[in-house]
């Protein structure tokens, strides 16, 4: 790219550092543009369908994850999830119109990520390295991150004029401070339970959004095509 620039402007003298900086900027710009293109190239139904499948997968895995978690926590762990813990994201999706609800899904995904990471860290100290719980927690974290990116992409595609706020719209839910071991067990159980409930709601929400938003956009597109 720098050569290309140099060929176009052979008379200019550009220092090596400036050329490197220019190259980085160009690559970053291309990346951002290509990402946006990828989001916009996806048909409405296809993007939502892909996200819906991913959500179903994560939800299915979250059910298994919660079972594994309870088994790994010892006796009476079935009752741990019934205890109340603060600062765990609420599974409910807020918002009135589709854009707000999409944004709520995105922010919830982002909000659950640090909690999943914290639970993974805590359980790493409580489980043998070969425990399947650790791998499942790690998988759930990674898939949720991917789901958040997909939701972000769909949001940009469907609502290109609406910016995504940097902070979750439902307010930050910081990970809890230091906890004792029992609190860690209870915390992890509550996080995974709400995570499962959230994914269930996301599944329903994406299904609804797919039928509402995509149909409306298709109608608009057809109308525009007629004129």
């Amino acid at each position: 790219m720098s050569g290309h620039v140099k060929n176009m402007c052979p008379q200019l003298t550009i220092s090596q550092a400036a050329r490197t900086l220019l190259s980085l900027l160009l690559v970053a710009a291309i990346d951002s543009v290509s990402a946006a293109v990828v989001c916009r190239k996806q048909p409405c139904g296809s993007s939502l369908q892909r996200s819906l499948k991913l959500t179903k997968l994560i939800h299915k895995e979250s059910v298994d994850l919660l079972k594994t978690y309870k088994v790994s926590q010892g006796d009476m762990s079935e009752l741990f999830c019934q205890m109340s813990i603060n600062n765990v994201p609420d599974p409910n999706i807020s918002g009135l119109d589709p854009s707000e609800r999409m944004l709520s899904i995105y922010s919830h995904c982002k909000a659950f990520l640090p909690h999943l990471k914290r639970v993974t860290e805590q359980q790493t100290d409580l489980q043998p390295p070969s425990s399947s719980l650790l791998s499942k927690l790690s998988t759930a974290h990674n898939r949720t991150n991917g789901l958040a990116n997909q939701i972000n992409c769909i949001y940009q595609t469907l609502f290109p004029n609406l910016p995504i706020p940097p902070e979750p719209v439902d307010g930050p839910t910081s990970v809890p401070p230091s906890q004792n071991v029992f609190q860690q067990k209870v915390y992890g159980c509550v996080v995974l339970k709400r995570f499962k409930e959230f994914l269930s709601r996301v599944t329903r929400e994406l299904r609804t959004l797919k039928s509402q938003v995509c149909t409306r956009r298709t109608t608009f597109a057809d109308t525009n095509a007629l004129f």
Binding site: F80, Q127, N180
Partner: protein, 957 residues
Amino acid sequence: MPSLFFCILLLGLRVTESQASGLATPQQVRLDADKETQKLSVTWEDSHASAFDVEILRTELMEIVLNETVGVTEDQSTGKHQWNWTSPVPLECTSLSVKVRSRDGQDVSEWSSQQILPGLDLPDNTDSQMYPEGKTVPVGSNMTFCCIVEEGQQFGSLWYKDTLVKVNMLSRRTYATTMTNQGPSNPSGTNVVCSNEKKMIIAGAVVFVGYPPLPSDLVCETHDLISVDCQWSKGRDTYLFGMTRQTYYTLNGRNCPKARNSNMRCGLEQWEGNWTLVARNLLGEFRLTDAAELGHRVRPVAPVNLTTPEVYSWNASVGWLWKYNGYERLSLICQVQRTSHLNSSTQTYTGYGLNTVVLKDLQPDEKYSVKVRCGSQKNFWKWGEWSLPLSFQTKMDRPVAPDIWLWMDSDNLGRVLWKPLTKSESHGQISGYEVILWSPEENSQQTLTLHQSVFSLPINVTDRGSKVTVTVTARNPAGVSLPANVVIPRHLPDAEDTTISRVAFNGSGFPLSWVAHANASCGYVVDWYNTSCTQDCNVEWTRVAADNTNTMVQSGNFFAGVRYTFSLYACSSESTVLLERWHGYMQELVPSRTVPRLSPNQEGSDVQLTWDQIPLEHQRGFILGYTVYLTNASHLTLLANITDPQLTNHTVRNLVLGSYKFTVKAYTAAGEDGGATVSISLEPYTYWLIMEILVALGAMTCLLIVITIACYRKRKWVKKAFYPEIPEPKLPGEWGITQGTLDVKPSPHSMVHIVEDSVWDSSKEALVTVPEEDEEGTGDEAADTDEPTSLRYYNQVVEEGSSSQRRPHASDSSASSTGSMDSGHTDVTYTGIQTSACSLAPMAHFQPQPDASQCVGGGSYRPQMQSASCPEEPQTGPEEHLQPPVGSFGGYQPQCSWKQDSPEADGEGGGLDQACLGSPTSVTSSQFLLPYDTSEEGKEHPSSASTWFHNLLTGKP
């Protein structure tokens, strides 16, 4: 609630002040708590005593936890007394009050001011809590847990793992339990939870129960002759996981971060000679040591980059590289393990910096896999790791000579057989076989090239007039094998004379032994085949060295229940000689079928059972004999056990008449077969039956002859006894007839009316019988044949001349009757005169008119046969019966008075003859009135028979 607590504190202070003595009261009592270790440190000043009373109470309930006298010396540097106490109950559970007083023997000072260690169950701390939390304790330890209930809630229960435990109340909100001898917990710890009255968990704690580390077997060695690598065994499981609870290791004070899980090893960069391993976790530590010189702990690394610089048919060289240059000066001992599809073997090589070896005794065209490991030859310590395997294939070589044999399918036809070459014999892919038939006497040679899958060649012995040598060679891409020869002699010895014995399978094979033969110059050959095979049999053979007189015949083709024939041949350069034969079964089974053609033969009261031998292929064992059973339903009764297998019949003797079922079973060493069953029903002997009949007939004949002779000789007596002479009647007057006196009485039922005949009016009056019934009824009866027939006899008045003319065979009685007719007007009444209807036939015969039926007679009297004569009668008016035509019906008609017995009497005239069996007998005459038939035979036979009999009785010839 705070006010109540304050009152309790004031009350404690008041009690303390009430005690006073000369000893100084401890001042500035101070409590320092280490809640993690549950240790309470009590310090005080201004007291020179060395003994103190310490009292600890649970502040809220004022329960004494501790009250004892302890010796505490003053710390000279600080001037303070310090006493430590470890509480069995977590210090967070509830508030503790501590007070101290000095003691000197029995003298005590006043109690110090009460110091309170506040617990976490104070009212301002409203949350539910459980203590201790996250502690790590050794297995078997005792531990007290307390649950502080949230303000406003009621305590429910306390659970350790999944066990509900009993609790003690420590304060208003605190309940505690003590667990003793705790077992190891799972990786995430043991849960202890507390629930409220609604059985909802309100608090919980986790305790980790495990063991301190206990490693063993620390061993340090070097691989590169510089650094050290130490390994040890993890030992007992600690049951503790996680960053804080896991076991950490240090070697000579340096951490071993890679010592995790089961990989218990740690390395140092330099050889130090002495090593100390410390294993440490929250519950303790353990030390291991090791010491050694470097030269005694050399364990070479695995060779790398194995290659085969040279590969031949029977040997190859293998080389490798060493990772460290120091090995060049190290005396090494190396093992090379080579593996082929045949076997696996290991060879050892030595040398300084050894990096190449030559492998010998390889097989041509064989794939080998080799791997190498080495050790220090001097002060050998341990073998190093095996290298990665290297595979190579040796080159091909010409095959070995095939093993050939001559097998005679019959006297004239044989086959030259050779065994397929095995992988180790072929030395490469066999491309074919070459067979040369060479007759040195005829100097002829025939060469055949056969496919690689052909292993036999048919030979016709009779076509050849001289000895033939057969040479077989195998060919592969590397060359041709050495030839294998077999000689076909001009004359084959007769094998029938060879004795055959039996050989038993001993689990691994058939052991055969024989007497050494002088002509076995090239050893012996034992061949075997399925005895029941007739064509293209699979023949196997094995060769035995000349100095051996026994062998164990083994094959993977032996099957149970199959008879094999083993033949021993002595091999010489000229020919082979059959020496001995054996029969044997790998495993004898019961016969697979029953004896064929089982049949019974009755011989009087004996039954001989015969059957055939079971075919050889179905015997499946040596037939030891047969058992004969008598079968009753499902029950078998042994009749005989025939131990001679050649005997195939058996006679069951002395059987009574009836049905029998016999079962014959052949048996081998394995047992009996299913049994063939045959049934026989014993019947009387036919010839005897015929004889008995003949004897009976003969006896009867003799008896009749004797009776006849006797009767003949005594005929007069017999005649007198059975046929006495009837005196002739002596008739007065002018009776023209000398015989035929008829003395009858009038029938009470018949009336004879003398009527005048219009035709014969001038001469005589006719006798006419009048039936008892109405004449109209007579006509009806003639029409209805179902009515019981009542024969009525109508005597007929005829002229004497005509009577004698038309009835030449009339009986005497008829004659007498006729004679009586001559009297004309004589009043004669016939009663009970019986005659047959056949007498009507002559009458019908001489009645010319066609309408004159048998019932309607002529002009004379005749017997009246209503039922017998009327069926053929055409229907006529009753007047014809009542008033017969004048002139054709004259005279009286005697009435047939007996009743016809046989229904056949309703038939024709012939039937009437039979119906009239029995002679009408004159009441006054003893002579029989025999009926006569209308036919010629009927006319003659009775008369002839009666005549003969009469002549017999009368002695006339």
